[in-house]
């Protein structure tokens, strides 16, 4: 089985879908001839032609607006927003339009569109190349939100997203594109080839939306994470020696609540982790759900580890980033509780 990093896995998912379904089209800024600034669409135009994978003007609202119309026509557009930080010009089209067209037309029109976008910090991108805006989208009725944490998952989830008949926001943790980053900023960077989830089949396969993965079984505390933070949580468990159960949510909407409840009822403790800013973040939703559904099994208050409520500061990236030490401390806090 070939070894792929996350960019190659994402590329493979689009390639598989372009080959299988003539309605799939891929477009965005720099994605055509050049193959994308992160190389995620490299070779797709060459292989499938200019009408299947092409460059667009620098107009995120235009890209998404056109994709909505194309989707309503019957195509299955997969668009790239070059950085999640650039998605805001498309916000009206996503929130007021894509998310509601099925509802407001009573099912007459729908938008089978996937918006791929690299998100999160860890590459010294400063405030305009590091944001984690997932909470803005999970808050909107009618959107699905997916975040992979490995190459294997990225391909299977992206295929499911493209095949889904509703709009999907597919957030790619850009710090994981080339390796399973654990939040340790010193020492050599590990490539994906050392990780078992870099074995990615060439062919079509799906990972269903709405299924979390228990990536580390444990007894002491449940850690809920997604994207880069899955690897940070695993590192925190290893570094601290705490027998944590780490759950990779993989899909934020729809959420696999059963896997979460089963785990927290077993461990009696819960830490919620995300890189996004704290206030009104997705962690608040997770915390509430766990509190409501696991209250009588909880041994300690639920802890949240998040980015601070500040813009992502360029020179203080690692002070901002919720690394393994902060996650481990939160786990210890629940064990004290």
């Amino acid at each position: 089985m070939p070894t792929m990093n996350m960019i190659q896995a994402v590329n493979s998912a689009m390639s598989v879908m372009l080959a299988r379904d003539p309605n799939v089209v891929v477009f965005g800024e720099d994605v055509g001839y050049f193959g994308g600034v992160f190389r995620a669409t490299e070779g797709l135009q060459r292989t499938y032609g200019k009408t299947r994978c092409f460059d667009t003007p620098i107009a995120e609202g235009g890209i998404v607006g056109a994709a909505i119309g194309m989707g309503a026509y019957g195509m299955r557009p997969v668009v790239e927003i070059q950085f999640a930080d650039y998605i805001y010009p498309a916000f009206d089209q996503i929130v007021s339009e894509a998310a509601r067209i099925r509802y407001r037309s009573a099912g007459e029109f729908s938008v089978p569109m996937t918006i791929r976008t690299p998100y999160g910090g860890g590459i010294f991108g400063g405030q305009t190349h590091s944001q984690s805006p997932e909470g803005l989208f999970t808050h909107v009725a009618g959107l699905k939100v997916v975040v992979p944490s490995t190459p294997y998952d990225a391909k299977g989830l992206l295929i499911s997203a493209i095949e889904d008949d509703d709009p999907v926001i597919f957030l790619e943790p850009k710090r994981l594109y080339t390796g399973p980053f654990e939040g340790h900023t010193e020492g050599a960077v590990r490539p994906w080839s050392v990780h078992p989830a870099s074995e990615v089949p060439e062919d079509h396969y799906r990972i269903p939306l709405g299924q979390a993965a228990v990536v580390r079984e444990g007894e002491d505390v449940t850690v809920l994470a997604y994207g880069t933070m899955v690897h940070v949580a695993l590192a925190a468990a290893r570094d601290s020696g705490i027998n944590a159960e780490v759950i990779d949510l993989r899909t934020l909407v729809p959420l696999d609540i059963e896997t979460i409840v089963r785990s927290v009822n077993k461990t009696g403790r819960c830490v919620v982790v995300h890189e996004a800013t704290r206030t009104s973040g997705y962690g608040a939703e997770l915390t509430t759900l766990v509190q409501q559904q696991c209250f009588f099994d909880l041994e300690a208050p639920i802890e949240r580890v998040t980015g601070y409520d500040i813009p992502y500061p360029h020179a203080f990236e690692w002070q901002y980033f919720p690394g393994p030490a902060r996650v481990a401390e939160a786990m210890r806090q629940t064990l004290r509780g």
């Binding site: 003007p57 107009a59 194309m70 309503a72 037309s105």
Partner: protein
């Protein structure tokens, strides 16, 4: 060296001689406010028949002048003149006249129904009927329309059932949209009418995307969209022009310049600096400025743009120059911000009256026929209204089941919505 020193000295001298002038900001002002005399002196009109008609495959750069002129066909003697006089059957013109009359009769009844508390909201298109009706008839039935909220004439011209429209306005059990949308935000895939958003302008770039999809698949259908003069200031308009131009999308982009965006006259969107049609010139799009109250001119321009799109020559921008004869909506009172008699003094007349006079002049129509048709459409609307009201009006608790409000958020309902529906007791 010497030269440059001399220039610097001269500059210093200039500064000394003239005091720096305080900068001024222009805040555009409408030509006439309440109590002031109507002033249409700033309108740039052209004589009927005066504007040339390029071939449908002519390059956009060869017709930039059309964006600054005004295509008119019907003259003051009720005759069709000039190169834009369309080839159109009398049957089509009569169908157009009837659809316009039915639209106006429908608007009047629904407006009254709102005043009687039978619905929460209504928007009329009085004075603008020729736009949606003539364009619907100039397009093919399979072409997809992406309207704003004032193109109910598209549905009526395409013979969409009035009963469903009223059901939507009353949010009763006849409402195809199950009470989810404000009145007049219709949707019908079958009739080529894209779900009306209510957010301004979003539909125009979607129309371009729809047209791109049609072209990508090698289909033969084109798309059309409508936005108002005020909405041309939204980014979506510029996305649409850019994408339509870049990909040569088979789409017709219409700007309905009815002079008023609620209380803001078209100058607030820049329409007094350059015609809205001229926005297309910078994007390399053929851009036509058309008398929107002239059924024949609207039909001809749309037919031209549709032929152009269908033959892979890409998009056309059409500014339809008209006047919003009534308030923006039932929530608006135009006497608060514009001269009361502006509508009656609009120099381009009323679209229904003008088409009627044209048909009479051609010997194809009579006053008696017109009066009979007026009674007939009024009666039709009344009859359908009675039937619609038998299924309830807004607020009368005769809606679809409230449990349906949890449906169609996604293709398949997720656990949250199932739980929330239970929680709500449905």
């Amino acid at each position: 060296m010497l030269d440059s020193r001399r220039r610097a000295d001269n500059r210093a001298l200039l500064v000394q001689e003239s005091e720096p002038r305080a900068l001024e900001l222009r805040i555009p002002e409408a030509p006439a406010r309440p109590g002031e005399p109507v002033d249409f002196s700033r309108l740039k009109l052209a004589d009927p028949g005066a504007v040339r008609r390029p071939e449908v495959d002519a390059p956009a750069e060869s017709m930039r002048d059309l964006a600054y002129s005004l295509i008119r066909v019907l003259d003051d003697k009720d005759e069709a003149v000039g190169p834009w006089a369309p080839e159109v059957s009398i049957a089509t013109l009569k169908a157009g006249l009837r659809a316009m009359m039915l639209t106006r009769a429908y608007d009047d009844r629904m407006y009254r129904a709102q005043r009687q508390g039978k619905t929460s909201f209504y928007i009329k298109c009085t004075g603008e009927e020729a736009i949606a009706v003539a364009q619907a008839l100039a397009l093919d039935s399979g072409d997809m329309c992406f309207p704003s909220y004032r193109q109910q004439g598209l549905l009526i011209a395409r013979n969409y059932p009035l009963l469903k429209m009223m059901g939507q306005v009353y949010s009763n059990t006849l409402d195809p949209l199950k009470g989810r949308q404000m009145p007049i935000m219709y949707s019908s895939r079958e009739y080529g009418f894209f779900t009306v958003s209510g957010n301004l302008g979003t539909q125009i770039i979607q129309a371009v995307g729809w047209a791109m999809g049609s072209a990508l698949r090698g289909d033969t259908k084109i798309a059309a969209s409508w936005i108002g003069d005020g909405t041309t200031a939204e980014g979506d308009f510029h996305y649409a022009l850019t994408f339509a131009s870049v990909y040569r999308a088979p789409v017709i982009l219409n700007v309905v310049n009815n002079q008023w965006a609620i209380s803001s006259f078209q100058g607030i969107a820049g329409g007094d600096q350059a015609p809205f049609a001229a926005r297309g010139v910078g994007y390399g799009l053929p851009s036509l400025r058309v008398d929107g109250n002239d059924f024949l001119a609207v039909y001809a321009a749309t037919q031209w743009a549709a032929q152009r799109a269908r033959s892979n020559h890409g998009a056309t921008l059409i500014e339809l120059f008209t006047y919003r004869a009534e308030g923006h909506s039932t929530s608006d009172d135009p006497t608060r911000y514009r001269a009361a008699d502006e509508a009656s003094k609009w120099p381009l007349g009323d679209p229904i009256l003008r088409l009627k006079q044209y048909l009479i002049k051609r010997g194809e129509w009579t006053e008696e026929q017109h009066e009979a048709q007026q009674n007939e459409v009024t009666q039709e609307v009344r009859t359908v209204q009675r039937e619609a009201e038998a299924s309830g009006v807004h607020g009368a608790n005769n809606t679809h089941s409230p449990k349906t409000m949890f449906e169609d958020v996604f293709k398949e309902m997720d656990w949250r919505l199932r739980r929330q529906r239970q929680e709500a007791g449905f």
